[in-house]
């Protein structure tokens, strides 16, 4: 019953709670509250809260303090931290407030199940303010009468709470209104300040957990002033070229404070400030003359100030003002040098280019209006001094060779410079510098030298960029006599420079020493192009051109030749850079070589294009060495052959050139006048195959197989033989002609084997035998052929020609035809002889033919005999020949050879067969 009522009441409460427009307050008021309300707690401290239940709730809802549970946000606070003080009060204790969070709620667990919120509080955890530290103040001048004081301090740690800072200041008996910082917590600006009274300044920091106060700063604000920088600064130049006067206005009256100043200045374009010594400007002033400046130079000035006694702060630097010092006369003469051009001027006359450098601004001390050049001939005192006024920095003179003194003066508005003197001597005969050398230093090229022994006034250093395409444009510089090295500026890398140093003495100049130098080297921009000049069997001469100066990019230290065969290893040869030719040796003959060339500087190398060549197969003179001996050998062989042939000519002649009796010369031809012999001869010539062979019927017979001869066929021969043997006795006349006729007869017979037979069988020749052989009884037989045969025609034809040459030709043709035939014919030598004789003298032929015939007839006699017998026989024949006819003795000597071969010949056989009747 009770519990039901209880529930009803509880439900009523809930409804009331929900419906109430001010629900929480209604509930709080009705059931309980927490003490303290909205506490601000120091971080790390301990904290105890009490939840006090209203009596009404106890009665109505049956709620007690023992049922209270505490929660932070939605997290339950452990029960160990609770303490039930009495029936209506429960407390919770936190040892460390850092565990706290908002909200802290007091709840009740109705009937042990339903959790009901009774009350909640906001807990703020933070820190009390720290003592502000490092308070410092500065008084800024804002305008002529307005000063503000800004104080800054270190506010200390973060408090997590709203903390108020107040800057307070006071006099001993008066406190001024506080300065409350806006938006910041570490500085504040007081706008109304009083000077010359010590003011105590401090900072107060306040928050819910406490208050802190900084150490007081006692200061007279006048001692912490940062004044405004001087205004209306102006720079004015006076009479002196080294002085500029600076004027300005101060913002602060002397009654407030006196000032000291700092003045700084620099040359326009320079970044380094110079400062006027501070002790010179340590007193109040509104102007100052800056001294020791360069004439005709623009300066920038700036000034600042502070309290004279050094208390306070320097003002900012004032705005920069510029001023130019007045001009002054040039402080020194321009450096002068000459370039003597002897190439383009006539003999014994110089073109002298005088060149000088414009003075640097600090030397010129103004605008140089003109230069005055004075040239005095030192060699002849009488010659007048020449003066030139020049506005440029060079002047060209035509001077005869000699010694001159050139004086140069630069002139500006104020005055003239001291003169610069240059001696132009006839020759540079004095001692040069020694040990000239260069060394690159970053972007500059250092040139050093060792001074000559005598005193040097100064040195002139000339340099120019070496170029293959254009002239060297000379730049120069003068160094004082006590230096032994200078840096050349503006030197380009990878370019070759020619540097010359001349020492200048009081009485002339020394000869120049030159050196080539690079600031920086690179590898060449291209490699040399190599070519062959000459290629041999085992060597090749390579040539190349030097790289141009532009291509070198450095000193060529060496050339490297790389060559190889197609499949072979590369061979490397290093060559001195001065050479342009090199001979490769030990090459393989008839081989394709690839060669290229590399030029190397200190910084690398580059290879040129490939070049290929093929070595020769034979070396120089090798062909000659082969050909000449071969030719010589050949010639020797030929000579030997000729000699041999000449020696054996009789034999040869016998074989290929048998004497053929000429029918046209025969007595028979004359003897039968009705037949025109010439005509016959001619026709015989045309009918070559038949006619020409008619002459040599005897030979034809030889060629034919002896077996083919029939007994009948040989009969005419028998006759012929008889005739021959009989004709021996006749030295001239009929005997000769009969001798001649018989071969002719046989010739007509023996065209071919058969033809011969036919002819011999059909053609009838008359044979006249005038005489028998020496040992035989001559047969006075005279027979005549009945037929009118082509032979006669040929005789006639030969008459037409009537030239011995023709007959010769005929015989030659004949010889050719029979070249392949057996040469054992004993008649052949005889024919050859005939031929020669024919050449010699046709007239003699008759007798000779007789001889031949007798020779022929004699050979069969020698057959089967001893050689001696034969020779004896022949010698007898020869004797006969020489007696009767003109026969050369040497031909006779040949005879024994042919006799050797006699057994093979047909003729003797035929003859034998036929048999010589007398034998």
């Amino acid at each position: 019953m009770f519990s039901r009522w209880n529930w009803v009441a509880y439900g009523f409460y809930l409804v009331l709670n929900i419906c109430s427009p001010d629900a929480s307050s209604g509930l709080v008021q009705s059931c309980g509250h927490i003490i303290p309300e909205s506490p601000v707690l120091a971080l790390g401290s301990n904290f105890t809260a009490l939840c006090i239940l209203n009596e009404s709730c106890l009665d109505f809802g049956n709620i007690y303090a023992s049922q209270i549970i505490w929660k932070i946000k939605n997290r339950l606070v452990p029960k160990e931290q609770y303490r039930e003080i009495n029936r209506t009060v429960s407390s919770v204790t936190f040892n460390d407030t850092s565990a706290l969070a908002t909200p802290l709620t007091c709840n009740i667990l109705a009937d042990g199940q339903i959790e009901q919120n009774i009350y909640g509080i906001t807990v703020t955890v933070g820190l009390p303010p720290e003592k502000p530290k490092n308070l410092s103040c500065i008084v800024h001048q804002v305008s002529r009468f307005t000063y503000v004081m800004t104080c800054t301090w270190n506010p200390g740690r973060h408090t997590f709470l709203d903390t108020q800072f107040k800057l307070r200041y006071s006099w001993p008996e008066e406190i001024f209104p506080d300065c409350i910082p806006k938006d910041v917590n570490n500085s504040c600006t007081i706008t109304d300040i009083q000077f010359f009274v010590n003011t105590e300044i401090w900072v107060e920091a306040t928050n819910a957990l406490g208050q802190a106060e900084s150490d007081p700063l006692v200061v007279d604000p006048i001692d912490i002033v940062k004044p405004l920088s001087p205004q209306n600064v102006s720079v004015s130049s006076g009479v002196l070229p080294t002085v500029l006067k600076l004027s300005w206005e101060n913002w602060i009256s002397d009654a407030v404070m006196t000032l000291k100043f700092n003045i700084r200045y620099r040359i326009v374009g320079d970044t380094n400030w110079m400062e006027v010594p501070s002790e010179d400007t340590a007193s109040p002033r509104t102007s100052f003359s800056v001294q020791g400046l360069r004439p005709y130079t623009e300066y920038v000035f700036s000034i600042r100030c502070m309290k004279e006694d050094g208390e306070g702060y320097w003002s900012d630097w004032s705005e920069e003002k510029t001023g130019i010092t007045p001009e002054d006369q040039p402080s020194k003469g321009p450096p002068i040098w000459r370039i003597i051009d002897t190439s383009r001027s006539p003999a014994s006359c110089w073109t002298v280019h005088l060149v000088w450098k414009a003075l640097k601004p600090f030397e010129a001390n103004g605008v140089i209006l003109q230069y005055e050049v004075t040239v005095r001939d030192k060699s002849s005192l009488s010659s007048p001094v020449k003066k030139y006024n020049v506005t440029s920095t060079n002047h060209t003179l035509q001077l005869p060779e000699g010694t001159y003194e050139v004086t140069l003066i630069a002139r500006n508005n104020v005055g003239a410079s001291p003169p610069s003197v240059l001696l132009i001597p006839a020759s540079n005969s004095k001692a040069p510098v020694k040990n000239l050398r260069t060394l690159p230093k970053h972007d500059k090229l250092w040139v050093g030298w060792t001074a000559p022994n005598s005193y040097v006034l100064k040195y002139v250093i000339e340099w120019c960029l070496v170029s293959s395409s254009s002239d060297c444009i000379i730049e120069w510089q003068i160094a004082l006599g006590d230096v032994q090295g200078i840096d050349l500026k503006g030197i380009k890398p990878f370019k070759c420079y020619l540097i010359t140093v001349y020492p200048l003495y009081a009485d002339g100049q020394g000869s120049g020493q030159s050196v080539k130098a690079y600031l920086k080297q690179d590898r060449p921009s291209k490699g040399p192009t190599v070519q062959t000049k000459k290629v041999g069997k085992a060597e090749a001469v390579l040539t190349w051109n030097h790289l141009t100066v532009e291509e070198q990019n450095g000193f060529i230290r060496n050339y490297t030749i790389l060559y190889k065969t197609i499949d072979g290893n590369e061979t490397v040869v290093t060559v001195d850079p001065s050479k342009t030719e090199y001979t490769l040796s030990s090459l393989t003959s008839d081989t394709l070589y690839t060669v290229r060339m590399m030029a190397s500087t200190d910084n690398g190398s580059r290879t040129g294009p490939d070049f290929t060549f093929t070595t020769q197969k034979f070396g120089k003179g090798e062909i000659e060495a082969i050909v000449v001996p071969v030719c010589l050998a050949f010639l020797l062989i030929v000579l030997l052959g000729v000699l041999f042939c000449f020696n054996k000519r009789d034999l040869i002649k016998k074989h290929i050139w048998p004497i053929v009796p000429d029918p046209s010369k025969s007595n028979i031809a004359q003897w039968s006048p009705q037949v025109p012999a010439k005509h016959n001869f001619n026709s015989k010539d045309q009918m070559y195959p038949e006619g020409s062979f008619t002459d040599v019927s005897v030979v034809e017979i030889e060629a034919d197989d002896k077996k083919s001869f029939s007994e009948q066929d040989l009969k005419p021969f028998d006759l012929l033989k008889k005739e021959k043997s009989t004709s021996e006795g006749h030295s001239s006349g009929i005997g000769g002609s009969s001798c001649m006729s018989s071969p002719r007869q046989s010739v007509s017979d023996s065209d071919e084997g058969e033809t011969t037979q036919n002819t011999s069988s059909t053609v009838q020749y008359s044979t006249v035998v005038l005489n028998g052989y020496r040992d035989q009884t001559p047969l006075q037989v005279f027979s005549r052929s009945e037929s009118t045969q082509p032979l006669l025609d040929s005789e006639e034809r030969s008459e037409d020609h009537s030239g011995g040459a023709d007959t010769t030709e005929q015989r030659q043709q004949y010889f050719r035809q029979n070249g392949g035939q057996d040469e054992t014919n004993t008649d052949r030598p005889c024919f050859e002889r005939t031929k020669q004789i024919t050449h010699a003298n046709e007239e003699d032929l008759v007798g000779f033919v007789q001889l031949q015939i007798s020779g022929q007839s004699s050979q069969p006699l020698g057959l089967g005999m001893e050689k001696n017998t034969q020779e004896a026989a022949l010698s007898r024949v020869l004797q006969t020949c020489t007696e009767g006819q003109t026969v050369r003795p040497e031909t006779v000597e040949e005879n024994p050879l042919s006799v050797d071969e006699m057994p093979k010949s047909y003729l003797p056989q035929t003859v034998r067969q036929g048999g010589y009747m007398p034998q």
Partner: protein, 219 residues
């Protein structure tokens, strides 16, 4: 005897030097410094007043802003402390008397000036007057500081914020302007003379001398 005495004095001075209370030392040293500061402040006030007076007289208008305007001093202006005391007589006074006279005069003048400040129409002028008043207040404090540093008692007088005593309202605007004119004029005179006073006092009490005297006194 004499040399012995000097010797003991020196010994004692050397022995006591480290033992001397720093506060005392700085206080005594501060006398010269505060005199210098007061002198600077006087000069500063003179400088301020020069511009302020010009501005204010212009504000009052003619004939007050005329350079040669020199009206007779009216009887009612006598309440403003006059600096027209004979110079020799003034110099004959002791430092203490002069400082006290200055102190009193500036206190009175400050009271009148504050009244004047409240009546000025333009904000800019009022701001400058306020600043001037503050500075003058500083001067009064400074003089008090100098007097205390020199060991003189502060003159009994209108302590605290002095209220203008029984100022009969000016019968008309011109007379009121005459009062203002004379106030500024007297201020200028006082400041001019105070500057001389403090300059003289400054020379009389150089810091080094103060230190020596302090040591002697300590002995």
């Amino acid at each position: 005897g004499d040399s012995w005495g000097i010797f003991t004095f020196l010994c004692a001075a050397l022995c006591n030097l480290p033992a001397l209370p720093a506060l005392n030392c700085s206080e005594e040293l501060g006398a010269g410094q505060s005199i210098q500061q007061t002198y600077d402040l006087t000069r500063y006030l003179e400088h301020q007043l020069r511009t302020l007076a010009g501005t204010y007289l212009n504000y009052l208008g003619p004939p007050f802003n005329e350079p040669d305007f020199n009206p007779p001093r009216l009887a009612r202006a006598e309440r403003v402390p006059s600096a027209t005391v004979d110079l020799d007589l003034w110099r004959g006074l002791t430092d203490n008397a002069r400082l006290a006279a200055n102190y009193r005069a500036y206190s009175r003048l400050l009271c009148y000036l504050r009244v004047l400040d409240g009546q000025v129409g333009t904000a800019e002028l009022r701001h400058r007057l306020t600043h001037f008043c503050a500075s003058l207040q500083g001067l009064v404090l400074s003089i008090g500081g100098v007097m205390s540093s020199l060991g003189y008692p502060l003159p009994a007088g209108p302590a605290g914020p002095p209220t203008p005593p029984s100022t009969p309202a000016a019968p008309n605007d011109f007379l009121k302007k005459m009062d203002d004119f004379w106030l500024l004029k007297e201020l200028q005179t006082w400041l001019w003379r105070s500057a001389k006073d403090f300059n003289r006092l400054k020379k009389k009490v150089p810091p080094a001398v103060v230190t020596l005297r302090l040591e002697a006194r300590g002995f």
